[in-house]
C-alpha cells in the first residue's frame, strides 16, 4: 500500500505498527486486517467528492462516494467473468490434452455463459457498505489524517441554528427573488456550507422546517414576493416526487405565489445509479398518476438520495435551473409547477465578469 504522504509503496511486513517505513506517517487502514479500503482509495474518494478540494460535502456524500467505488468492483460481475475465462483456458487445455471434442464444447459453453452473465451482471441495488462501517472508517481516517477539510462539520451556520439575538426587525421586512426548498436538512447544510445562498441571492429552507431559528421569518419573507422563483430539490423518493406539487399547491407554501420548479432527482434518473439506491421509506406504497407502473413499482421498494449525486453536480444543476426555464406541469389538483432539465449536461457555472458600474 502506498503512503499518501510520501508515496512510498510498502509491503505488509514493512508497515508494522501501521506506519509508513519511510516517513513514519500513520496509515488509517490495513486491508490485510479486513479494512475494505486502502488509504489511497479513501483519499481518492475524498478528492472526487470534493472536486479536488474545491467543494464542501456532507458525511452522506462521502458515504455514497465510497459506495460508488464499491459499485465499480461489482462482485457478481467479477465472479462470472472469472468463471468464464477460467472455463475457456482450462477447458481448452483439457480438450487439447485429451483430444475430446465434447469436452471442448462443454468448456466453450461454460466460458461463453460465464462471460455473458458477467457482462450482464447488475450490481446489487443497494450499497454493500453499511453506514456503521462507513462511520467507523471515517473515524479511523480522521484519527490518522485529520478530518477532511471540506467535510461539512456543522449544521447550518451558527447564525441560522443558534442565533444569540433575535432576528432584527429590519431584516424580516426584506424578501428575495429565489429560494431552494429541500426535502432534507442535510441538503440545506450542504448548500449553505458552499455559500450557495450568498453567491446566488437565494434563500434556502427544508420542507421539514430547517434551519429552525430562521425558518418562520424566511418563509414569511419569501411569501411576500409575488414573483418568487422556488426550486424544489429532493431525493428520488415518494416524498421527493411530491415536493414540487406540495410547494406549488399548499397554502402554507407558495400556492398562487411565484413559480415552483422541480430540480430534484426524478425516478427516471435513478436507474443509472443502481447500486446506490436505498430502501423506500413508504409504509403504504402509493401510485402516482404521472409515473409508469414500473416507476411506481420502483418507488414502492427503493429511493435514491440526492446525496448520491456529487455536490458539484447538484450545485451546477441549480445554477443551470436558475438560468434556463423548465417544462410546465399541471397537477391533478390544478397546481402548476415546472420541471428543470436533467442532471449532467453542460455547466453554466461560469461568470462573465460583470463590471461594477456603468452609465
Amino acid at each position: 500500500m502506498k503512503c499518501i504522504k510520501c508515496q512510498t509503496d510498502s509491503k505488509y511486513s514493512e508497515r508494522s505498527g501501521g506506519t509508513c517505513p519511510k516517513c513514519r506517517a500513520r496509515f488509517a487502514f490495513e486491508p490485510k486486517s479486513g479494512d475494505p479500503f486502502t488509504d489511497p482509495a479513501f483519499a481518492a474518494a475524498i478528492d472526487r467528492v470534493s472536486a479536488h478540494d474545491a467543494v464542501r460535502f456532507t458525511h452522506t456524500n462521502l458515504y455514497y462516494e465510497l459506495a460508488r467505488a464499491g459499485r465499480r468492483t461489482n462482485a457478481k460481475k467479477v465472479v462470472f467473468l472469472a468463471i468464464g475465462f477460467l472455463g475457456l483456458v482450462l477447458g481448452t487445455l483439457a480438450a487439447v490434452g485429451s483430444g475430446s471434442i465434447a469436452l471442448l464444447v462443454v468448456a466453450l459453453a461454460v466460458a461463453v455463459s460465464g462471460i455473458v452473465l458477467g457482462l450482464r451482471a447488475k450490481p446489487n441495488p443497494t450499497p454493500a457498505l453499511t453506514q456503521p462501517t462507513f462511520s467507523s472508517l471515517l473515524d479511523k481516517w480522521s484519527a490518522a489524517h485529520g478530518t477532511p477539510s471540506k467535510l461539512v462539520q456543522r449544521a447550518a451556520p451558527a447564525s441560522a441554528t443558534g442565533r444569540k439575538a433575535p432576528l432584527a426587525k429590519e431584516l424580516a421586512t426584506y424578501s428575495f427573488d429565489r429560494a431552494v426548498i429541500c426535502d432534507r436538512p442535510e441538503t440545506v447544510d450542504l448548500l449553505l456550507a458552499n455559500n450557495f445562498h450568498f453567491e446566488n441571492n437565494c434563500a434556502i429552507l427544508s420542507v421539514t422546517g430547517y434551519p429552525e431559528a430562521v425558518f418562520g421569518p424566511v418563509l414569511e419573507m419569501l411569501r411576500r414576493n409575488p414573483k418568487i422563483e422556488v426550486y424544489a430539490l429532493h431525493d428520488a423518493s415518494a416524498e421527493g416526487h411530491e415536493l414540487a406539487r406540495k410547494l406549488a399547491t399548499s397554502p402554507e407554501w407558495f400556492r398562487g405565489i411565484g413559480r415552483v420548479t422541480d430540480v430534484g432527482i426524478l425516478v427516471k434518473h435513478a436507474a443509472r445509479l443502481r447500486g446506490l439506491w436505498s430502501a423506500s421509506r413508504q409504509t403504504t406504497p402509493r401510485a402516482f398518476g404521472d409515473l409508469t407502473a414500473e416507476e411506481n413499482a420502483w418507488l414502492s421498494v427503493y429511493a435514491l438520495e440526492l446525496a448520491a449525486i456529487r455536490p458539484e453536480q447538484v450545485i451546477k444543476r441549480l445554477f443551470r435551473a436558475m438560468t434556463q426555464p423548465g417544462t410546465q406541469v399541471t397537477t391533478d389538483d390544478g397546481g402548476i409547477f415546472f420541471v428543470g432539465g436533467s442532471f449532467g449536461g453542460s455547466d453554466v457555472g461560469t461568470s462573465d465578469g460583470g463590471g461594477d458600474s456603468f452609465g
Binding site: 472536486a51 479536488h52 478540494d53 474545491a54 467543494v55 464542501r56 456543522r154 447550518a156 451556520p157 451558527a158 447564525s159 441560522a160 432576528l167 432584527a168 429590519e170 431584516l171 421586512t173 426584506y174 424578501s175 428575495f176 427573488d177 449553505l192 456550507a193 458552499n194 455559500n195 450557495f196 445562498h197 450568498f198 453567491e199 441571492n201 437565494c202 434563500a203 434556502i204 434551519p211 430562521v214 421569518p217 424566511v218 419573507m221 411576500r224 414576493n225 458539484e312 450545485i315 451546477k316 445554477f319 457555472g349 461560469t350 461568470s351 462573465d352 465578469g353 460583470g354 463590471g355 461594477d356 458600474s357 456603468f358 452609465g359
Partner: protein, 545 residues
C-alpha cells in the same frame, strides 16, 4: 430618434480625439509661501455657484466647506501653514507624502507626487490586499507605503509641528422606519424627484449639446429621461457592446433610447481596442481600479467628446439607494456565511469583502508569506467593523460604507479622471452631495422594500420610463472577461502577468501562473475577473517602472 452602430477597433480608436493628462496639482509645505491652487467643477454653496478658487478659499476659511456641493481639490499655502481640502464625497483626489525627501508634499495624483517629492516607491502589501479584495483601495492607504490619500470630506492642515486631518463632512443620520407614515413616504419620493430635477437643471447648459451613457439599467435610464426632459430636445446617448458573441444589454438601452427619443449610438468594442487603451487608461487613474468597465468607460468618454462637452451618467444609484450586494449581505446575516468559520471574528466585514466577488478568499494563496504577515498585523476587516457599529440599520450601514468607500475611492474619482482625460466634463446627478445627504436620511424600507432594490428611486421616476425598465431585475453591465481570457486576450495576459511589472515580493508567482493556466478550482472560479484585476494592476504599475 435615430440609432447608429459604431464598431470601435484599434483604427477607430486612433481617429478619436486623443486623451490627455489633466494638469496635476502639486506642491510642498514651506514656511513663508503664499498661494492658492486647486480645481473646481460644478461647485455650489446653497444657491450660489462658486466660480473661483478665491471664493472657495473664503468658504474654507469660514469653516463652511460642508455646505459645498461639487468637485474640488484645494491647497492654500499661508506663511505658517498649508491647508489641503477635498470635496465632501470624493470626486477629486489629493495625496500626500508626509516625510518625503522634499518634506511634506502633496499632489492630485500619486505619480506626480512620487516624481516631485522623491518619496519612496515601496509598495504596501496591505493596500495591495485591499485592492485584490475590492478592486480599489479604500481608506487612507495607497499602493505606496509612504503615500496617503486625503479622505473625501476632509481637510489637512500642515505646520512646522506636523499635520492634522479633520473631517468636515459626515453623512446625516438615518431616519427610523418607525417614524415614517405612508404620507411622509410619498412626500419623500416626491422630494427625491424634485431634488433630482433641480440637480440636473443646475448643472445643465441648455446652449450646449448633452451626451449620456446608457446601459439600459434603471440608474442611467433615469438620468437620460430626466436630462432629455430638462433639455427639451434630443440628447446623445451611448451604449456599449462587445460583439455579437457576448451577452449585452442593448435590448434595454435601445428601449430607453426609443422611449425618450434620444440620438442613440451603440459602440461595439473589440478586444483589440480594449488592449490598445489599457495602459493609457490606467495611467490616467490616480489609484488602481480593477473594475473591467474602466477601459470601456474611458473609450466611451472619448467617443462622447465628438458629440458634446458634458457627459451625464447614472453612477451612484446603487450605493446610495440600496442596490445589489445588499441582499447577499442580508442572506449572510440570516444564515451565516459558509466561508466564515464559527470562531472567526468580524463575520460581517469578511462577508462584505467577499461580496465584491474578487479575490478576498484567495489572499492566502496569492500573497507571499511576508505580505500575509504584514496584512495580519492590521487585518482588513478592522476598517469595515466601525460602519456596522455606528447605529445605522443594517442596510443603512451598507449604504454608508458603499458611499464612502466605493463612491470616494472608485466611482467618483474614476469618472472624474477618465472624463477629464477625454476632454469632457462628467455629470453624475445621482451622486451629488445633496443627493447623498437625502439618501442617507431615508429609512431602510425606502431603499430595500421586500426584494425590490432602490425602491424610492424607482418610485420617484416611475412615470418617466417603461415599467419593463423600472421593474427589471438588476443584471449589471457585463464585460466578457471570461471569454476574453479564455480566448483572444489570454496570450497577452500571460505575457503581462508573468513578465510585467507585478511585485513578486508581495504576490506569489506560482498562484498567478495557476490562474493564467486555468488551474483555478471551485464552483465558480471567476477566472476572467481575477485575471483582469491583475492585468489592471500591472498596467497601473507599468507607469512607475
Amino acid at each position: 430618434m435615430a440609432e447608429s452602430v459604431v464598431v470601435c477597433d484599434e483604427a477607430t480608436l486612433r481617429a478619436l480625439p486623443p486623451a490627455t493628462v489633466a494638469p496635476a496639482l502639486s506642491g510642498t509645505f514651506s514656511a513663508g509661501q503664499t498661494a492658492v491652487t486647486g480645481t473646481i467643477d460644478a461647485c455650489r454653496v446653497g444657491a450660489e455657484r462658486i466660480l473661483s478658487l478665491s471664493r472657495l478659499r473664503e468658504i474654507a476659511a469660514a469653516d463652511e466647506l460642508a455646505g459645498v456641493d461639487g468637485a474640488f481639490q484645494l491647497a492654500v499655502h499661508e506663511p505658517d501653514r498649508l491647508q489641503l481640502a477635498r470635496d465632501a464625497i470624493g470626486h477629486r483626489t489629493l495625496f500626500y507624502a508626509p516625510k518625503s525627501p522634499a518634506g511634506f508634499a502633496y499632489a492630485s495624483d500619486i505619480k506626480t507626487l512620487l516624481n516631485q517629492s522623491g518619496a519612496s516607491r515601496t509598495l504596501d502589501p496591505r493596500a495591495l490586499a485591499a485592492y485584490l479584495s475590492c478592486a480599489y483601495i479604500p481608506g487612507r492607504g495607497t499602493l505606496f507605503r509612504d503615500v496617503k490619500e486625503l479622505l473625501p470630506g476632509h481637510t489637512l492642515t500642515c505646520t512646522r509641528d506636523g499635520y492634522d486631518e479633520r473631517r468636515f463632512f459626515s453623512l446625516p443620520p438615518e431616519c427610523d422606519d418607525e417614524t415614517w407614515s405612508e404620507e411622509t413616504e410619498k412626500e419623500a419620493i416626491r422630494d427625491l424627484r424634485s431634488l433630482l430635477e433641480a440637480t440636473i437643471r443646475d448643472n445643465l447648459d441648455p446652449e450646449q449639446e448633452a451626451a449620456a451613457s446608457l446601459s439600459g439599467g434603471i440608474d442611467s435610464s433615469i438620468v437620460v429621461a430626466l436630462v432629455q426632459r430638462a433639455l427639451g430636445r434630443p440628447l446623445h446617448t451611448l451604449s456599449i457592446a462587445f460583439g455579437a458573441e457576448y451577452k449585452n444589454e442593448l435590448e434595454w438601452s435601445s428601449m430607453v433610447a426609443r422611449h425618450v427619443g434620444s440620438e442613440h449610438t451603440i459602440v461595439h468594442l473589440t478586444p483589440e481596442a480594449i488592449l490598445a487603451s489599457l495602459d493609457e487608461t490606467h495611467a490616467f487613474l490616480a489609484s488602481p481600479i480593477g473594475d473591467p468597465l474602466t477601459v470601456p468607460n474611458a473609450i466611451l468618454f472619448r467617443k462622447a467628446r465628438e458629440l458634446a462637452p458634458y457627459v451625464w451618467n447614472g453612477e451612484g444609484g446603487d450605493p446610495l439607494f440600496g442596490g445589489p450586494k445588499n441582499l447577499p449581505m442580508v442572506l449572510a446575516e440570516l444564515y451565516g456565511d459558509g466561508e466564515n468559520d464559527t470562531d472567526e471574528s468580524s463575520p460581517r466585514a469578511r462577508s462584505y469583502y467577499r461580496a465584491h466577488l474578487k479575490c478576498f478568499d484567495e489572499l492566502s494563496s496569492l500573497l507571499t508569506e511576508q505580505a500575509l504577515a504584514a496584512v495580519a498585523e492590521a487585518p482588513l476587516e478592522l476598517e469595515v467593523n466601525p460602519y456596522f457599529e455606528g447605529g445605522r440599520s443594517f442596510v443603512g450601514a451598507l449604504s454608508e460604507i458603499n458611499v464612502i468607500w466605493k463612491g470616494g475611492h472608485h466611482i467618483l474619482p474614476k469618472v472624474d479622471q477618465l472624463s477629464q482625460a477625454a476632454g469632457v466634463r462628467p455629470r453624475s446627478p445621482l451622486f451629488t452631495k445633496s443627493v447623498v445627504e437625502f439618501a442617507s436620511r431615508l429609512p431602510p424600507s425606502l431603499k430595500l422594500r421586500g426584494s425590490v432594490e432602490k425602491y424610492a428611486l424607482k418610485e420617484a421616476v416611475r412615470d418617466l420610463l417603461p415599467s419593463a425598465i423600472v421593474d427589471r431585475p438588476k443584471s449589471g453591465m457585463m464585460v466578457p472577461v471570461e471569454g476574453w481570457f479564455q480566448g483572444p486576450l489570454l496570450p497577452h495576459a500571460r505575457e503581462r502577468l508573468l513578465g510585467g511589472a507585478l511585485p513578486w515580493d508581495i504576490l506569489r508567482k506560482s498562484a498567478v501562473e495557476a490562474l493564467v493556466d486555468g488551474k483555478v478550482l471551485g464552483l465558480r472560479p471567476r477566472r476572467g475577473v481575477k485575471i483582469w484585476l491583475l492585468v489592471a494592476l500591472e498596467s497601473y504599475l507599468r507607469q512607475f517602472t
